[in-house]
Point group: C2
Chain length 233, copies 2
DNA sequence: CGGATCGTTGACAGGTATCAATGCTGGTGG
DNA sequence: CCACCAGCATTGATACCTGTCAACGATCCG
């Protein structure tokens, strides 16, 4: 996998108060007054699939909220190996570590066409002094990130590869409100589950053959009952 | 592994201002005034090795700061399997999720004799309204927890079992200021690395034979150079 | 001196990585 | 419109690694 740089163009600023997913994002609890305190513009970014949103060497001046699509956080090892350590979706925050002055921990790369709000850290710092509502939201985000990390450690890294793929498929399916969900390329599935691309492919193909999984292209749906039985063993 | 309940006795409250590790803990940035706001007592707890500090079914009324020793966070699966998802040490916070009103995510179990401060959540909530210094500390804790989770996902769950054990040994050694460090029982090593107890034992024994690792009982020291070569491959 | 617990080691079967070859598909340019 | 190519997915063969089951050793403690 070779990260490419951001291809897409700025779409200009957008009033947060009119945001259709306002109640799901970081600024959910802010008051009218709080919004008046936002001096720096919040830009909306459109990313094509496979674009790099940020990477550890970038200046850590922004945090990001996902409006739609999905972002993978990729942790590269010094020997060239890598793992995907998290998938972010609508309402999730990316790059919160910038708030603490840290460099970004990982590479953030879009998995599909993705729409994002770019929030200057200075805005947040300014608000922090005023609004304890924001703190609460931030704490909730950290907590969510942490609790997901624990799930990944337990669900996605133990058991044999068939069980791991089964758990991943269930996870991917339940994140979507739709029946259908986005099936990542096999290389990504491998990087998610700490298995090889080939093993990931074998398991996916096997699930397709026995009708546990249906897909064409990126779009998939599952037989949840069969998968649940699988992960019990 | 069978968790047992807390055996130890309360030691009574302790003035935080006199705490010898005050600058490493949650209350590091608090002012004299802030301390006056602490109405509920902060108790010091001594845990024998293997004691359960908290578990998901407990009331989430406290968060905990480690003064000395170590705590493992254990995530049990419905089928009886389990994983250790984090090791906490001096200055670390346990049970932060209680601040967001969540039930404790995991079982927290002492690995050695361990000394802990028990902080009522109500104290924190009260302080939150007054002190933005505390928020900053809390954010730092979340961030640290998250960044460690990523390391665990990448270091401790990929590569073959020899490399994983090597990485764990390096991790354990660099957490201690001393030359010697605490070598967990083989079952714990397995639960940390998602390998079986037997495999963990084999690798540890092998490292001992080729002098990469020295230990007697719980106390161990490593040949860092040899281990670093090992994890490169 | 048992007995319990933990660590070590062996044998073997099954699972997974590795290396390699072959399909499949969408996009590009003639 | 079609041929071709590049990238991804699939499949096969094989060696290696790890889980599993089992036995034995070491240590501690009553």
């Amino acid at each position: 996998m070779k990260p490419t740089s951001i291809k897409s163009a700025w779409k200009g600023s957008l009033k947060c108060q009119l945001c259709p997913i306002k109640d799901k994002v970081l600024f959910a609890d802010l008051t009218e007054d709080d919004f008046q305190q936002l001096h720096l513009p919040i830009n909306e970014i459109e990313l094509a699939a496979g674009s790099v949103l940020y990477q550890p060497t970038d200046d850590n001046n922004y945090i990001y909220t996902l409006r739609s699509g999905s972002i993978k956080l990729v942790h590269y090892l010094t020997n060239g190996n890598y793992r995907i350590t998290r998938i972010l979706r609508q309402g999730d925050l990316a790059g919160i570590e910038a708030l603490n002055g840290s460099a970004y921990f990982q590479h953030a790369i879009s998995m599909q066409n993705t729409s994002i709000c770019q929030i200057p850290v200075k805005n947040i710092e300014h608000l922090n002094l005023k609004s304890s509502n924001l703190y609460k939201q931030l704490m909730d985000r950290w907590q969510k990130a942490q609790s997901e990390a624990d799930i990944w450690l337990t669900d996605f890294t133990m058991g044999n590869s068939k069980q791991r793929v089964a758990k991943l498929l269930i996870y991917l399916a339940e994140q979507e409100s739709e029946q259908a969900f986005f099936l990542p390329p096999r290389e990504d599935i491998g990087a998610l589950l700490a298995i090889t691309t080939e093993t990931a492919s074998r398991m996916i193909a096997e699930f397709r053959r026995d009708k546990t999984l249906n897909y064409s292209g990126n779009t998939a749906s599952i037989n949840l009952k069969k998968l649940n039985i699988m992960i019990m063993k």
